[in-house]
Point group: C2
Chain length 310, copies 2
């Protein structure tokens, strides 16, 4: 049992992680802006309201913690295109301050939610392993890679055990509607609302989608895992096209989408896949929920939301 | 002939670059803090005093410029160990603001002084080519690599022609005594002062040293070169050990050094070499001044300094 702090613990992935950590018997503290009502359901979670940009508040929250999970990213690949500087000032600088505080406060391990798509960039059709040279093409991916560099640096010089998780495309319940991220909930909400959905070209773009609670369950194991590499790819390891996702979404929604087709914008690669064998071999298979099932569960939550508000 | 702005144009490499650009007939503007007297010697250079952290002042200086050379780095590998956050806030954020301004103001090309040692990290005994995967281990190198990521991003999305120069270990006249960077001038100044010199283990650590005016002459060619890659290694391509450098320094100084030996600190790699064939093939051989000759020229300047002040 450890004392674990989850930065961004009321977020999409963070909140599932909080529930998994609490279920596993760890003492959990959440640091979050709480810009929406609490979505994690575990009882006995200590909540600290604050902004990750407030370095002193983050440092204070670290007192007595053994493991810090940083799942508090505020930007998205799309938002980073509008404001590359925010990526540096908000994401990278904030995380370096956090790492400095963690090393000073005697934290033992920091687990960081990096990205499995944007870090690698266009590496060709084969799945990228942790040995593949990253070549990020968006400010979002450039920022995540810089953070990974600092994680490695703190690991080398301070002995803080830092772990970067290059997570593919997590989807599922609790994914916010107000972020420009997450194909699946965006598709499902548009289907539910009868709004047209945007598909690039023939929808053949392939990605790794992974059900968020599957990721959360596995990440929670890092709270007290004996050995861990510095970097892991985390995902399903399975390729799915946008056309497949759309067909599954139409099936659970019971209606056809009005598709608006556009040319694929520059910077979108045809196939972005990761090799997840390192993580799955060491910690057990991540993906237990099939895509069709995960989409159905996500649809049920979206239908409930609409029932509640609409 | 182009209008060229040199950020950090009164610095060690920057000032030689200013002289080379002016000699080649370009219209040169220097943006610098001017924390020391002007060291470039070319006449008719427009000087703008300012801080690179002042984004508006940098943007104003870009009006009418075709090429911007960013040689204004204020941190060093050693300083970055004390303050990793400064690397993010001062170096990376400042450069992203600069790139945004350059794209908006219609600048055509930005040339950035990256690093040939710290970007690659410990890549083994073979020289690193531009295709070698960078794995920086210092905040300085991590910051430079992040800047390179943003250079690539701006190149991709704005059409700004950005070029990163991974320069090895430039040395020579005009290298400041008050920076913790530059083995050769540090050795020579200590020899001149009769102070002990610090050598790690047996002095077998190997690096690529390149005479700064050689670098400046070649970099100036990028002001109006037709085609240029996004990344170049720049150096002599020749391996020299610390022991060799010390022997050459003792020879020009005409005295033996008092050597203080220490164990090599963690993070210092045994051999750090770069493959300079891409740059030298496209623009002609960089290194024309042999190490012994360059050390002698540096010694002469240091002797003059001491004669003038001591």
């Amino acid at each position: 049992m450890v004392d674990a702090l989850v930065l961004g613990g009321n977020g999409f992935l963070g909140s599932s992680l909080v529930d998994e950590l609490a279920t596993a018997g760890h003492r959990v503290t959440v640091f979050d802006r709480f810009s929406r009502d609490t979505v994690y359901t575990a009882p006995d979670v200590r909540a600290v309201q604050g902004d990750l940009g407030d370095a002193d508040a983050v440092a204070d929250a670290m007192a007595g913690q053994q493991v810090v999970f940083h799942f508090g990213g505020a930007t998205t690949p799309v938002s980073s295109l509008r404001d590359p500087l925010a990526e540096v000032q908000r994401e990278v600088a904030t995380t370096v301050s956090m790492l400095t505080a963690a090393a000073e406060r005697g934290v033992e391990r920091v687990v960081f939610a990096s990205t499995g798509g944007a870090v690698y960039g266009d590496v060709g059709p084969e799945p990228a392993s942790e040995q593949t040279a990253p070549a990020p093409i968006s400010p979002y991916g450039i920022g995540k890679l810089a953070v990974e560099g600092f994680l490695r640096y703190f690991r080398d010089v301070t002995g803080l055990d830092t772990i970067a998780l290059r997570i593919s495309n997590p989807y599922g319940p609790r994914q916010r509607a107000d972020r420009e991220q997450g194909l699946i909930p965006i598709l499902l909400r548009r289907l539910a609302a009868g709004e047209p959905v945007l598909v690039y070209d023939d929808g053949s773009m392939v990605r790794d989608y992974v059900f968020a609670p599957d990721v959360a369950r596995q990440v929670a194991r890092l709270a007290d895992a004996d050995h861990a590499h510095a970097v892991y790819n985390v995902g399903s390891g399975e390729p799915h096209s946008v056309a497949e996702v759309l067909a599954l979404a139409e099936a659970v929604a019971g209606r056809r989408a009005q598709v608006e087709r556009r040319q694929t914008p520059r910077g979108f690669v045809a196939r972005s896949l990761i090799d997840v064998s390192r993580f799955d071999t060491e910690f057990g298979r991540t993906a237990t929920v099939e895509l069709a099932d995960g989409i159905e569960r996500t649809w049920r939550e979206i239908s409930r939301e609409r029932g509640a508000t609409g």
